[in-house]
Symmetry: C2
Subunit: 699 residues, 2 copies
Amino acid sequence: MSHALQKNSIALFSLTLLLMVATTADGQSTTDLNVMPLPSKVQMGSGSLKIDGAFTVAFTGVKEVRLDRAGLRFMDTLHHRTGLVFVHRATDPSHATLVVTTDHESKPVQEVGEDESYSLEVSSSGAKLHATTSLGTLRGLQTFLQLVAITPNGFAAPAISIQDQPRFPWRGLMIDVARHFIPLDVLKRNLDGMEAVKLNVFHWHLSDNEGFRVESKKSPKLQEEGSDGLFYTQEEIRELIVYARDRGIRVVPEFDMPGHSTAWFVGYPELASGSGPYQLERKWGVFDPAMDPTNEKTYKFLNEFLGEMAKLFPDQYLHIGGDEVNGKEWDSNPKIQAFMKSHDIKNNEGLQAYFSQHVQEIVVKHGKTPIGWDEILVPGVSKNIVIHSWRGADSLSAAAKQGYRSILSNGYYIDLGWSAARHYAVDPMGGSAANLVPEEKERILGGEATMWSEYVNWENIDSRIWPRTAVIAERYWSPQSTTDVASMYFRMEAEGSRLEWLGLTHRTYQRPMVERMAGDAPAAQVNALLWLARVLEPVKDYNRESLQNEEPTSLNPLNRMVDAVHPESEVSRQFSVSVDQFVTSSCKDSAKAAALRSQLLQWAAIDAQVQPLAHTSSLVQDAVPASSAFSQASEIALTALDRINQGLPVPEALKKQQTDALAAFETQAHKSQLTLPTLAAFQKLVDASGTGGACTASK
Amino acid sequence: MSHALQKNSIALFSLTLLLMVATTADGQSTTDLNVMPLPSKVQMGSGSLKIDGAFTVAFTGVKEVRLDRAGLRFMDTLHHRTGLVFVHRATDPSHATLVVTTDHESKPVQEVGEDESYSLEVSSSGAKLHATTSLGTLRGLQTFLQLVAITPNGFAAPAISIQDQPRFPWRGLMIDVARHFIPLDVLKRNLDGMEAVKLNVFHWHLSDNEGFRVESKKSPKLQEEGSDGLFYTQEEIRELIVYARDRGIRVVPEFDMPGHSTAWFVGYPELASGSGPYQLERKWGVFDPAMDPTNEKTYKFLNEFLGEMAKLFPDQYLHIGGDEVNGKEWDSNPKIQAFMKSHDIKNNEGLQAYFSQHVQEIVVKHGKTPIGWDEILVPGVSKNIVIHSWRGADSLSAAAKQGYRSILSNGYYIDLGWSAARHYAVDPMGGSAANLVPEEKERILGGEATMWSEYVNWENIDSRIWPRTAVIAERYWSPQSTTDVASMYFRMEAEGSRLEWLGLTHRTYQRPMVERMAGDAPAAQVNALLWLARVLEPVKDYNRESLQNEEPTSLNPLNRMVDAVHPESEVSRQFSVSVDQFVTSSCKDSAKAAALRSQLLQWAAIDAQVQPLAHTSSLVQDAVPASSAFSQASEIALTALDRINQGLPVPEALKKQQTDALAAFETQAHKSQLTLPTLAAFQKLVDASGTGGACTASK
């Protein structure tokens, strides 16, 4: 090893340390605290606890079967993460490296607001985790796992003192299993991910126009006719509920009604307001079919069905949906119109309120608390219900003001492809909620990230959920002042690595998908396609719908580039950060310029490798507009960079031409339903060109 | 898209086509026949069968539950491989795209030599698979799956006519689950891989010095004391046997004795020839403990145990091991010495033969056929046994000559890190077997790849088995004349991609392992470490043993670079092929030179990125000798390449110096237990330097 290399190493090592300086909520510097969500109170100690094959854990205090299982799972995860082989699977507290003490059992059915606090003390001689209930123990074990990292002397956890508890009691992830059925094992690995980042509610969106996914023994045509055979048996559901409880996660089922309910009507058309017959929807959006609120048989059916489900799902809450009813079937049914007149119901909102009230009564009768999308918040509705805000954050605070408990999903729609930073900036206590009085604020229970499944299946769903949902989980758990975006991204990527050891596939899914597109092409071409996949993103919000030649359906394969790219490209983000640093520094760093140049050269060369693949693979053809646009945009950025480096003047006309070209390339990429997330950075290089040179040039 | 790019694409496209020209056994050119193992008879048709969401399969002929399951599995695999969504899971034969006809049921317990033949006809209008038994059907379904590929017009299978049957009836993979316990799900995914390449024997090496991995209900201390709690329950074993049978795979259990049996003695020291007490071995190799062949209680115990196992495992064959007894416990036990004298047993070989004969009689008494490692072939042993040749191929033909059936594993030890080409060159009918008369040749049943597990666990075992075992499977299945190495490598890589869709992790395992080593380092450093992992290989044969500072044990973590690198680096192989083409062409191709140069530049830069990681991670420290050696060796190759390109003369003294340096770098890499597989190619560049120039220089 040469001395030059040695020096180089030290410089880079310092950079690493710098990056690892995160800040906790109260602004203290917490070097090396690579934890997500950040704990509410942290005191760094000195030294660290070595983790090697002799590591042991012991549990004291209250006995609970799930703590035994948590202990085994903890050791398995530690083995996976480190590769260390632990001889002793269990030991007595006097000899254990980590001693876990739990004071009390938690509730037989997990409740909203149950104590999840814990304290964790790590020193060079051992570690102690203490929690009031086993829920807190589960949370603390995850924090300990996150602390373990490789060091120059093997694996270790830093000496630290943590006091931690969640900011919100309702911290959820919703998964829609209707548009695309999501297999049980995929749900399980996502519950593992939820546990890792301390989420505590799995909201299971079980029915929609495209599928009814629960076995009903009382009304079996629901799943028999309404699911293409893709549903969960009651045994599987019970299995998942146990799995979730083991991880301190509540399972809240949703049966969306009176709209979003076509799948019910395939087997039971008599529930609908139209004349039928009904078929499963293959497209998505808002459809006409809706339950008939004027028919007593509807409520009889729902009473029986919800009674069955109330027994199957132990959680106190039952989600009744209630969103997006277009009312067309109601308008065109004379019997319903007559009913409305005779009952003095003025409009469809009134009719939905009538339906909603009846269903809420049924739910309450079966011992549950109803929760529904914010449409169900109408004057006079019982204060017992929970409002799930999706149309805007204002309904959240409005509900709280009126005395309703509420949770927020607006701003946490992870299907829309937003950046982690954008989700991170959304706070349940932000906006109008900030002006609520304390008593009202207490009614805001938390939030849920929502994974709508129009464009996800078993293969890419993990990549749409993770790692961004870890950031949303931090928003729900950590103090409101936890807002450092650079620290967030560093810790999100680290958590992304750790989550893979749980079996999540949010990183590994991509290469096989790209190889599927490429077929058995030469490595250089496959690699180019992979680089393309790493740097592009799907178009955002609902733009994918409008950018397709044919209307999408649930039978369309999800095997194209738009399905394979990450919602937020880490490569693009890092490039953009580098460009920001480069263009804003008065004296241009030549090493930085060289790194940017090398990256742009690679990108500019991608399309020449991708083009031949378009001749052998229909799946690649689809990505060619984006590939070509991206490589050409990279060429423009390269030209701009070179002019900056050479300190050359740039005519405004050329800049204008380049700016227009970049915008056109973005439009071209949309033909592949893709977007170029580096475009803003490319534009910054164009803007900066001709305005002064690199140091070497200006000297 | 520019015209220049367009031209470029076409050139590259032609190259792809060239690469895809494989040759079948009888030498006919079979463009696009990307199948492994190659069928015995192939006739390419014209056109292709489109595979889209409307694809259906129907089964006719004999009904068998496992064919129903095979059909579901077939559709699942097709979905995974293509991403296509199939609406119809089953259909009637008159409408099906693929009609499968099976004439007869196969045997209730799969037998050696059962008919596995099938014929497959694919045309643009549909496909027909026909087989005499369901075994042939299973084989043919796999061939069909391999034929499906992406084309410019979506997925398709080429029009083709195939008549196929195996060359050998015994085509096995042995997995040692003693040195490292291999979880059931890992075994299952490897059975999926076996089915894909038409292997039909899973040889389960269930006991050894380091562990006894089967639940015995009659002698429970075997697993209770002999397994660290890591064993398969009888229920799990039955589950695996069903799983294997579904895939046309026999399960042959092995209980190695009288040596390799320390794990038995932890619970039952009375079986041993020494005085005990015994503990599980943590190291590996040949140890002293051996069963006491002179004690009637040994045979009583074995009779009971093997009787239990004979019921648990339905296969006709039961492997009794018999290898590597050092005899030391026998030598030092006066009672045993006295017994030998009184029974006129002259030496330890004779004593082992005495033991072996008794055990064989027990096995036969329980209705099974014994198979054992070639040590059990001693004069007078019953002709009914099968000889498993591991010490050398000669014992295979010797056994056949003497009237014994035999299988070959010598040459198929996939734990030794050999290249696929080296295994491919080993043929059960090669060497002295070539001179056998037909009747003797028929006694050679086939072979087994052996996965000894000293250095594998759940995490990297797939990468040691796949894709190289696909090549060995081709050796066992395809005609002997199938020997084209270039075609083999192309098809092996393609099969490697396909195997991943079954859940095998032989490619995906690597990046997480590298990230574990790197910790949360900057992307540039992690990428460099990944490039290093892709280009290096573990030292071969048993050299890892001698190159370690401390004796390895099963408690050592397998989390270092040597555990993460592929046994055969595809990147290195392709580089070496390119160098061969470059140095042997009289007129040096400048595009090729540029590609080699760019690769060498990347490699030369690796160490500067890896060095800083060594300051943050103990796991990377271990790889630094190899990293440094590799980057410096790449520098030498780069210098040589540049001199070739510039047509510069090179003094012999410099060449000598470079040659010595390269050799020294290989030695240095051994400190990391790694080898530099590109070294021969580097040397070729050095040798070629100064001997004439590139075209541009010589013009």
